[in-house]
């Protein structure tokens, strides 16, 4: 069984050197809809892909978080990317594959993946 001693070791290693994430509003927020509608539509693998991808790429100023239903259930899984000082980007009908593109192009490259945004899909 995994023991708490290991956690103790992690803490000792991290303490002091943990660059506590900027809570001053400079972080990019990735918000995944996780209400009944989102979960039923497959938000779980989407959230997982973001959490793992962000960790893998070492994107320290990206915060992956969740929210409830925003009333557009037919477009779930929905993901909002909120960058300080920019207009919110809403991606719809997301999958784990699309997440990889969003991480690469948007979160790292800074270019919105327009083909998956709500404004493009609804045209």
């Amino acid at each position: 069984m995994k023991t708490l001693e290991e956690l103790m070791a992690i803490r000792n290693k991290m303490q002091g050197q943990v660059n506590l994430r900027a809570e001053d509003g400079s972080a990019v927020r990735v918000v995944v809809g996780m209400a009944t509608c989102g979960i039923a539509a497959g938000a779980r693998p989407v959230l997982n892909a973001f959490a793992e991808g962000v960790q893998e790429k070492g994107l320290k100023d990206v915060m992956v978080t969740q929210t409830g239903c925003i009333g557009l259930c037919q477009y779930e899984p929905i993901v909002e990317v909120i960058e300080p000082g920019k207009e919110k980007v809403t991606y719809i009908k997301m999958t784990a594959e699309k997440v990889a593109e969003v991480i690469e192009q948007h979160l790292i490259g800074g270019d919105v993946v327009k083909k998956y945004t709500i404004s493009t899909e609804l045209k």
Binding site: Q15, V18, R21, T36, A40, R44, G68
Partner: protein, 185 residues
């Protein structure tokens, strides 16, 4: 429908978070002698009035403003009752809410338990300012994850830093495997 019990738990636990719970207890108890799989979700959130409590299993009741349908609790209730099990919900304003769903373990209509590791990992790492107590039991053998214990050890190191998040995931995986003893539910 949500096709796994773990997804229903993830969904129903969000209600505890919305209710402002400081501590949410989630237990999954599998017992092959009584042939049951029992899920309890207890919180110390704001609770519900008697009127709300009566309405909550009604699909045409919800607290949100965006539309008039709330399926989380009705899905969970139906899923349990379809397996010859039962569903109870009790609540008191200012005290909290208790949900208990009993599934017939070997019933043909029981959905798989699914990925409980993901459900608990998501709840814990994405809501790192509130506490969770998770207990998973199979035929009397169990393990517990208590974020209050983690918090005490970690001090100001948050749950969502990669090293800690990874630890929590493998804590859940390794301990679940040990309790499962090669079986899957």
């Amino acid at each position: 429908m949500l096709p796994e019990i773990s997804l229903n738990i993830l969904d129903v636990a969000q209600n505890s978070i919305s209710a402002g719970a400081a501590l949410t207890e989630i237990t999954v108890d599998i017992d092959s002698v009584s042939d049951t799989l029992t899920v309890c979700i207890n919180d110390d959130g704001c609770g519900m009035t008697e009127e709300q409590l009566l309405a909550v299993t009604d699909p045409f009741y919800t607290t949100r403003k965006t539309r008039k349908i709330g399926l989380g609790v009705p899905f969970f209730k139906t899923a349990a009752e379809n397996t010859g099990g039962s569903f109870e919900i009790a609540s008191e304003v200012g005290v909290g809410t208790k949900v208990k769903a009993v599934f017939g373990l070997s019933h043909i209509d029981r959905m798989p338990l699914g990925d409980m590791v993901f459900t608990i990992h998501t709840l814990v790492t994405l809501n790192s300012s509130i506490d969770f107590l998770y207990r998973y039991t199979v035929d009397g053998k169990s393990f517990t994850l208590d974020t209050r214990q983690f918090r005490e050890i970690l001090g100001d190191v948050p749950f969502n830093v990669p090293e800690v998040s990874e630890y929590i995931k493998s804590y859940l995986i390794e301990n679940s495997e040990e309790v499962n003893g090669g079986r899957s539910f």
